[in-house]
């Protein structure tokens, strides 16, 4: 078995209930665009965030560990490689028509890892149909200890650092649009429940069964992924930060190897 673990911050710019799921600006839900920002598009981005807000965690999900048959591969070339979800995946809840909050399937789901001559790409396939129950998540946020490790502080302290930085920006920013954006962010961050959002989370387990795209370097001892068997990915998204329009993703993909039982 080849086990690749990954983690990092993602960006998700989306409106929330009771706004229509495709609401572009965010009106009646608690997530809203700021003046001058582009419309929401609901896409879950693991890299290349759109209009990232100042003083928020950098978006990027990367391989953190690699193991072959349970043996950690320290210094493996994949460690630090980008993990991607392709084709604009979204939380497809559609105001609960497909699934309610914290259950939404991630669709489409095609995962790719590339590094140093390796290329692994596979998705869940097209066999799934509404309401996609086998692709639903289950509510499971990070524990307080996990949150502290991710944030490097308690949620309250983590956000307070941002508040201080934004207040400092406000004294210097010459642009009326940027200043209004900062004021709106500070107003949101002053809500007593802002830190509570970090406790929200979801966990998924997907069997990747579409046709795999695999290329591996021609080294004699390279473990060769088995594209004929399902690959299993499990992942958790939590630490939801509605000011940053982001969350923390942590997961792994387990891939059978050719010739292994």
């Amino acid at each position: 078995m080849l086990t690749i673990s990954f983690q990092g911050w993602i960006q998700v710019r989306l409106a929330t209930d009771p706004d229509p799921f495709d609401e572009p600006r965010g009106i009646s839900g608690y997530v809203r665009t700021l003046p001058g920002e582009p419309d929401f598009d609901r896409i879950i981005r693991l890299h290349h965030p759109v209009a990232p807000r100042p003083h928020t965690p950098p978006t990027g999900v990367f391989v953190s560990t690699v193991a072959v048959n349970g043996q950690p591969q320290a210094g493996h070339v994949w460690i630090g490689a980008p993990v991607e979800w392709l084709h604009g995946p979204k939380f497809e809840g559609r105001n609960g028509i497909i699934a309610e909050d914290v259950l939404e399937p991630v669709l489409p789901f095609v995962m790719r890892v590339t590094a140093a001559g390796w290329h692994l790409e596979r998705g869940v396939g097209a066999q799934h149909q509404h309401p996609f129950k086998e692709l639903w998540g289950e509510g499971a946020g990070y524990s307080p200890d996990e949150l502290s490790a991710i944030l490097g502080a308690t949620p309250a302290a983590f956000l307070q650092q941002r508040v201080v930085a934004l207040q400092s920006d406000l004294t210097a920013v010459p642009d009326a649009i940027a200043a209004e954006g900062i004021r709106r962010r500070l107003a949101f961050l002053s809500r007593p429940d802002t830190g509570d959002f970090f406790r929200w989370g979801m966990r998924w387990r997907y069997s990747l069964e579409s046709t795999a795209s695999v290329s591996v370097p021609a080294a004699p001892l390279t473990p060769v992924p088995d594209a004929s068997a399902p690959w299993i990915t499990t992942f958790q998204i939590g630490a939801w930060d509605p000011d940053a329009l982001g969350a923390y993703l942590r997961g792994m993909i387990v891939i059978p190897l050719v010739g292994a039982n």
């Binding site: 209930d17 009771p18 706004d19 229509p20 799921f21 495709d22 572009p24 600006r25 965010g26 009106i27 009646s28 809203r32 665009t33 700021l34 003046p35 001058g36 559609r94 105001n95 609960g96 028509i97 497909i98 509404h130 309401p131 009326a176 649009i177 209004e180 709106r184």
Partner: protein
Amino acid sequence: MISNREELTHALREAAELEHGLLLQYLFAAFSFKRRIDEGLTSLDQSLIGDWERTILRVAVEEMAHLGTVCNLLSAIGAAPHFRRPNFPQPIQRYYPFDFQLERFGDAALYRFLCFELPVGEPPPPRHLGAAPADVAPAPLVYSRVGELYGQIKKAITTLPNLFIGPQEQQDKDDWGNAMKLLLVKDAATAAQAIDSIVMEGEGTAANRDNSHYGRFLAIRKALGERPGFDPARRVATNPLTLPHDDAGAGVSWITHASSRRVAELFSYVYQTMLLMLAQFYSYGGESTEQRALLQAASRQTMSAVLRPLAEQLTQMPLDDPGSPMRAGPAFEMFTDIALSPALANRLVILDERFATAADECDVLAAAAAGEADPLFRLRTIAESLRLLRVNLTATQA
């Protein structure tokens, strides 16, 4: 003076119609806002308008909760839920002591909203300076404020004997996922609390009206008044209709543009379908717990994923001549009465047919979209939502 169960039922039905009519007028104004930079807004205007729209939509949601609470009150005294109402417009004193109109956002609409929510002891708001009808202010009839009607209902509830004969389990106590405060009515004390809560939300207290409906509308009107010349709403026609209705008053704007008319008819058809689901949810005709949960969810989802997007598209579509600046809007037409089949199986078949019809019509209209900028383009997504809702409802028939 309400002196018996029959008169109390009549008063509560009128209260339900009022809440229903108010929330639709608030929604209509909210859906009329300009949304995009290419509509002549600055990005700061866009955010400010978003704040106003959010406030009005929130008040409308609270009116939905009031309607639900009034249905609970009806249920508690052994009466049926009430979702019927006359079509717009309704001139003052025809049915109610208010001028009910579907009117785009602006000072004239805000003036009427303030009159609806006027707290006892507050002076009437300054008149709208534009072309407001002279008879727009509440008339000194049996009641002239929403709160006054509720005062009479409360007096009857706390004095009439043996009123509470309805089973409590037939009341709605869910928050519908949107922080709506629906109150369970068990007896005279809880009924009085429910009424006090409705009035408090509308009027606030003499010491603090800021968060009441009245206070929030007052704040928006003040902010709008500080921006002379600023027109944040689309040129949406007043009281748009697709068909004549016997119960509608004068002052109608006919939607004659072919596509707009079809979208407006589709909107009202789906609106009536949602009312049927709500009536079924509140009526307890043998539906299972799962079916009731699904009816509730489908009603809420239809509001967010179908009705609001359709309304937002309508306010970008021509009323009549494509070259005219006048836009159409959601007419909330009642083509027929909201009446449920006594047989559960028939109710579900009818809902299934209605969702299928709406989805098919949506597909036809979406196919005519000239591109992503065409308001009809969003109907593709709305059609998907209608089909998925239909699948969900069908699943409960098995």
